[in-house]
C-alpha cells in the first residue's frame, strides 16, 4: 500500500497516541522529503481520527517548541549576551543618575565635586530634610548599581572564558561578549567573515558608506581593543584588519573545535609588533 509507505514519514509514525515525549521528539528531529495529507494518513494508519489528530498535533508541537526554545535561549552564549547587555544598562543608568545627583548636590553645596567617592560618602550621610532624604537615597541606588555592575563583570568574565576561550584570550571578556552580542550568538559570529567582524558595531557608518559618499569605517566595537586604540591613527586600519582576522578565526575555533589554542594569541602579538614597528622607520 502506497499510503502506508508514505505514512512512515509522518511525525506520528510508530508513536503511541498518548506518548507526548515521543511525539515531541518526532516533531523536533523528524523530516520528510515532501508534505502529505497527514491527517488522512494518520486516520488510515489508526493513529487518530481528524479532530483528535489535531489535538495531539497541537500538544506535540507546543511541547516540542517549548522545549527547544528553552534549550536555545539557555545556551551559554545567549546568557552571556543578556549579561553584557545588563552590564551596559547598569553602567549607563548609574552614569545618568550620577549626573542628576551632581546637579542636585551642586544646588545645595556649590563646592560639591561629584565623583564615585562623593557619591559613596553621600549615600552614607544622615539626611536632615525630606529633599536631602531623596538625594541620599538616589546616591544609595547608584552605589547599588555600581556593585551590580562589578558582579555582572565577574559573571561575564567567567562565562566568556567558558563559551569562547580563544576569542576571550584575544579580545578580553567584555569585547568578546559584545562581539557575540552584536552577531547574535557565537555560531552567528563564527559564520561572519573577518571584514564584517572588523566593522561590527559600526553599522550606521557602514551603510552610509555603502549608500555612497561616506568613507568606509575602519573599525566598529573592536576599537575598544588596545591593539586598535593604542596604535597610531595612520596604522589603525591595518591594526583593525589584523585583529579582526584573528578574532574571526578565534570565534570559529571556539564554535567548531572549542579548545584553547595559545598560538593564536602569539600570532596576533607578532603581527601587531610588526605593524607598530612601522612607526619607528
Amino acid at each position: 500500500m502506497t499510503h502506508d509507505e508514505s505514512a512512515t514519514d509522518g511525525w506520528f509514525a510508530g508513536i503511541d497516541p498518548g506518548d507526548t515525549d515521543a511525539a515531541q521528539a518526532a516533531v523536533r528531529d523528524g523530516s520528510a522529503t515532501a508534505p502529505r495529507d497527514w491527517p488522512t494518513l494518520a486516520a488510515e494508519s489508526g493513529f487518530a481520527e481528524r479532530e483528535e489528530y489535531y489535538r495531539l498535533l497541537h500538544e506535540a508541537t507546543m511541547a516540542a517548541t517549548r522545549a527547544e526554545v528553552r534549550e536555545r535561549e539557555q545556551a551559554d552564549d545567549q546568557q552571556l549576551i543578556h549579561a553584557i547587555r545588563a552590564l551596559d544598562d547598569c553602567q549607563r543608568v548609574a552614569n545618568e543618575l550620577t549626573e542628576r545627583v551632581g546637579e542636585w548636590a551642586g544646588s545645595q553645596d556649590a563646592d560639591a565635586d561629584v565623583d564615585d567617592e562623593y557619591i559613596a560618602a553621600l549615600a552614607e550621610r544622615e539626611p536632615d530634610s525630606p529633599m536631602e532624604d531623596r538625594l541620599v537615597s538616589l546616591a544609595d541606588r547608584i552605589v547599588g548599581l555600581q556593585e551590580e555592575s562589578r558582579s555582572l563583570q565577574t559573571v561575564v568574565e567567567s562565562t566568556a572564558t567558558s563559551v569562547a576561550p580563544n576569542l576571550t584570550a584575544l579580545a578580553g571578556p567584555e569585547l568578546a561578549a559584545r562581539l557575540i552580542a552584536l552577531a547574535g550568538g557565537l555560531d552567528e559570529l563564527a559564520k561572519k567573515p573577518a571584514g564584517t567582524v572588523q566593522v561590527l558595531g559600526a553599522e550606521d557608518a557602514l551603510f552610509a558608506h555603502l549608500r555612497g559618499g561616506a568613507p568606509s569605517p575602519k573599525h566598529g566595537i573592536i576599537y575598544t581593543h588596545e591593539y586598535v586604540r593604542g596604535t597610531r591613527p595612520e596604522d589603525r586600519g591595518s591594526a583593525a584588519r589584523a585583529l579582526a582576522g584573528k578574532l574571526a578565526i578565534a570565534a570559529r575555533v571556539d564554535n567548531y573545535a572549542g579548545e584553547y589554542r595559545p598560538e593564536l594569541e602569539a600570532e596576533l602579538d607578532d603581527r601587531m609588533e610588526r605593524i607598530r614597528a612601522r612607526e619607528n622607520q
Binding site: 523530516s31 508534505p35 497541537h58 536555545r72 535561549e73
Partner: protein, 207 residues
C-alpha cells in the same frame, strides 16, 4: 471570497478589520472582537484592500516567519489548521503564549529555508503566508511551493531591505518577481505603503 471571520468594526473610536479571539498585543477589543492593526500587519493591509488572498473561514494555512504571532493570531482566529514557522527562539517564546489559547495553531521552531525539516508535520495547505525578513525571499517561496494545493495561493510580503539595503527597492522588487515567476503566476503585486515602507505585497498561484 472573503472570510466571515474577518469583519469591519469600530472599536474605541478606531475603525478597521477585526477577528474574534483572545487579545494578544494590547489591541482594542469589544464583544470578543479584536482590532487588526494595518500598521502592524502586512496581511491586514491586503485584506483591507479586499485583495483576493484565498484565505477563508477554515482555510488550512502555512505561515512562514510568524515572529511573535501578531498576524498569525488573527489568521488562526478565522482559519482552520494553521502551521506557524518561526526560526528565532525569542519571538517564538511569545508565539507560544498566542498558540496556547488557540488549539488550531501549531508552532514550529524551524527554518523556512529547510522545508524538509517540517514536511513531516505540515499537510498541503490552501494558503501560504510568507513574511520572512531574510535575503532570498523568492527562494523561500519557491522551496515551500510543494506545500500549496493546486488551487492554493501564496501571500507574500517582500521586504526590500532584507534583500539589499543599498539598492533601489523597485529594482529589488522586480528581481524578486522575476525569480518568483519560475514557480508562480503573480496575480497581484502592489506596494504596502503608507503602512509599511519599502514592502511589496504579492499574491500568486502555483504554476
Amino acid at each position: 471570497m472573503s472570510p466571515d471571520g474577518v469583519a469591519r468594526k469600530s472599536i474605541d473610536g478606531e475603525t478597521g478589520l477585526a477577528t474574534e479571539g483572545e487579545p494578544v498585543y494590547g489591541e482594542p477589543t469589544a464583544d470578543g472582537w479584536r482590532l487588526w492593526d494595518r500598521s502592524r500587519s502586512k496581511l491586514a493591509v491586503l485584506l483591507d484592500r479586499e485583495v483576493e488572498t484565498g484565505l477563508d473561514d477554515g482555510s488550512t494555512v502555512l505561515y512562514l516567519g510568524a515572529a511573535s504571532g501578531t498576524t498569525v493570531s488573527h489568521v488562526a482566529d478565522f482559519a482552520g489548521p494553521t502551521y506557524a514557522v518561526e526560526f528565532a527562539p525569542r519571538p517564538m517564546r511569545d508565539l507560544l503564549d498566542v498558540a496556547a489559547d488557540r488549539e488550531n495553531l501549531f508552532p514550529l521552531l524551524k527554518d523556512a529555508r529547510e522545508p524538509e525539516s517540517y514536511a513531516h508535520v505540515v499537510e498541503p495547505v490552501d494558503v501560504i503566508v510568507q513574511d520572512v525578513a531574510i535575503r532570498g525571499q523568492a527562494d523561500v517561496a519557491l522551496a515551500n511551493r510543494q506545500f500549496l494545493r493546486e488551487d492554493g495561493r501564496l501571500v507574500l510580503s517582500v521586504k526590500a531591505r532584507s534583500e539589499d539595503v543599498t539598492r533601489d527597492p523597485e529594482a529589488v522588487f522586480e528581481e524578486v518577481e522575476e525569480r518568483l515567476a519560475e514557480g508562480y503566476e503573480i496575480e497581484y503585486a502592489e506596494s504596502l505603503e503608507p503602512f509599511h515602507d519599502d514592502h511589496l505585497g504579492v499574491v500568486a498561484t502555483p504554476e
